[in-house]
Symmetry: C2
Amino acid sequence: MRSRLLCLKMVLKLSRCNHCVTVSNSPDFAMVHKVAIVGGGSWGSALSVIVGESVESKKHLFDTTVKLWLLREEVNGGEDLAEVINRQHENVKYLPGIKLPKNIVASSDIALCVGDADILIMAVPQQFLAKTCENIVSKIKPTAIAVTTIKGIEVDEKRNMCVSSVIIQKILKIPVAALNGANIAPEVAEKHFCEATIGVQREQDGELLKQVFNIPTFHVNVVRDLHTVEYCGALKNVVACAAGLVDGLKFGTNTKSAVIRIGFLEMINFIKQFVGEPSMETFHESCGIADLIATCFSGRNRKVCEAFVQGGHTIEELEKELLGGQKLQGPYTAAQIYVALERRGLVDKYPLITTVHKICSQQWEPKKLIEILCSQK
Amino acid sequence: MRSRLLCLKMVLKLSRCNHCVTVSNSPDFAMVHKVAIVGGGSWGSALSVIVGESVESKKHLFDTTVKLWLLREEVNGGEDLAEVINRQHENVKYLPGIKLPKNIVASSDIALCVGDADILIMAVPQQFLAKTCENIVSKIKPTAIAVTTIKGIEVDEKRNMCVSSVIIQKILKIPVAALNGANIAPEVAEKHFCEATIGVQREQDGELLKQVFNIPTFHVNVVRDLHTVEYCGALKNVVACAAGLVDGLKFGTNTKSAVIRIGFLEMINFIKQFVGEPSMETFHESCGIADLIATCFSGRNRKVCEAFVQGGHTIEELEKELLGGQKLQGPYTAAQIYVALERRGLVDKYPLITTVHKICSQQWEPKKLIEILCSQK
């Protein structure tokens, strides 16, 4: 285990060093950048509302046409979803009822979408990320920069934990940044005021990438703490499961606030222990405490875990019933992390993450969460 | 203004120094301590549930009888409320439906309650605190220690901001600690798991005071950061007003989480600027982020400010209608702080606190909150 974790750390450190010297990819503020969004589900479509408005108002920096790639899919009895989007300016399947800006041009031709893009916004589901990257690696500009908006911790073939930026970087070999924040998709699409954080490895990318997204209703802060931004996005889902269990057990706000606080500290400790040396300020950005709060009060992890306590269903059954078979990130992430903790003998240091894993995998009853909380010293 | 703030800082620093040398008040772990709760409203009564259970299980440290002082008040057509509590073990007026432990002995005789107490838990409303202290100063043991559970910032006759520990210490001249956390009273009384923080000035008080409250369903952490604990308790009410305004304006979780985050940073900055040198870890204790979350989702400040947006009433009218005339802490605290900020030319640094004050005092429309958020750089 130790060697694997060292390996993870080495990957992170090496990739950081690589970036520091890749000056050929420095953004040029005198040129006009083309932006593409890779992934047209509800989240990619919601982001297109923000990015479309943003680039439209910054013609000195960006080409105003933003390409949105999505899988070829038939709707309305045979029409290509991309064509419907381009005619109706609405993703009728994944974000119905929301008008997309007219400068968003959808296509299911991935080469066309990414071929001339200077900035690639990655918004595909985590499980399709590696395959998508392999599909586009020969088609992208070598000077492109990627921004991942994908949350989740994966275990690779060597059983190293890795986040989406590591997968993208390994395959595409271009600089990667990460966007994360308290950004529930429908509210983003409706342009309710919100904030987000971009984590960059290279300081010179920060301002340009901020400008891709930053508009009055979507405020972006940039930090030099890429992996903290990403790990927060994955770990918060585990804490949200605990919050959902508290709701399902009919405990009140005091207990839920305590669970969020304990989870927040476990997130900080986990990142300190496994990822690197985070700046404490990053945890106070939108990607940290704000995203955690939003997810613990409104996210799908909370909702499914609340239902898990109330009904007689497994998490897998609830995924099918409530999420149309999509994988719930929290229990999956908790299981991945539990393996790492167990091998290092660190289970006792992360009682909340451990308890979420044990309950969601039906090794423990939900009420055990309260017993564990009460028994902590 | 500057001299007044310096004055505040001097008071804090002097009082700290005073404590460091008051060795005669060091708690003695070989003796059995008597505990009294001064204030039998809903909060004092909820605390008595915790303290009653706690001291009962620690007979080596505490006298198991806990005296609960409350104002003489008639209930049930003429009976003294204290007598009813002692017969029924229930505060039928302020915490109906909750059984108090049998070792809680209520009385409206303040001299009897505080005269032999080694630990005084202060739980009266802020506006009666100074008068209560003046009433008991000649009656308490000179070796007693006080724990304030009273939140709020007051302006004294010299227009210095001060928190309850300063008032208590000034009048009683004994060491003071503060208890604060995500502790909504009815849930505390029902023994739903929760956490709290005690801020002490003297390290030697920490363990004893922790033992007064710490039971499996009420976990206490001790920090050496008394005034941060207290100021968090007051400032969070201002942020909760902003959260209530967001709810009233029908914005969603993204906006609310952003407001909580921005408010959290303003709390930290305010305490750094006006109070002293806080430990960042204190903000991650229950008194910090957890209490803030609980108050922004369940507290009365949130509720009244939501109603303020929806109806055509002033805050004062809503206080009468929804709180039986009790003063809402958030708008009051925001107004106090605004004066201090304005005099120092710091209004721009605290846009959220300023906006809460301007909206609650009807100088600005509620929707201005969103404009202010969107216009921040």
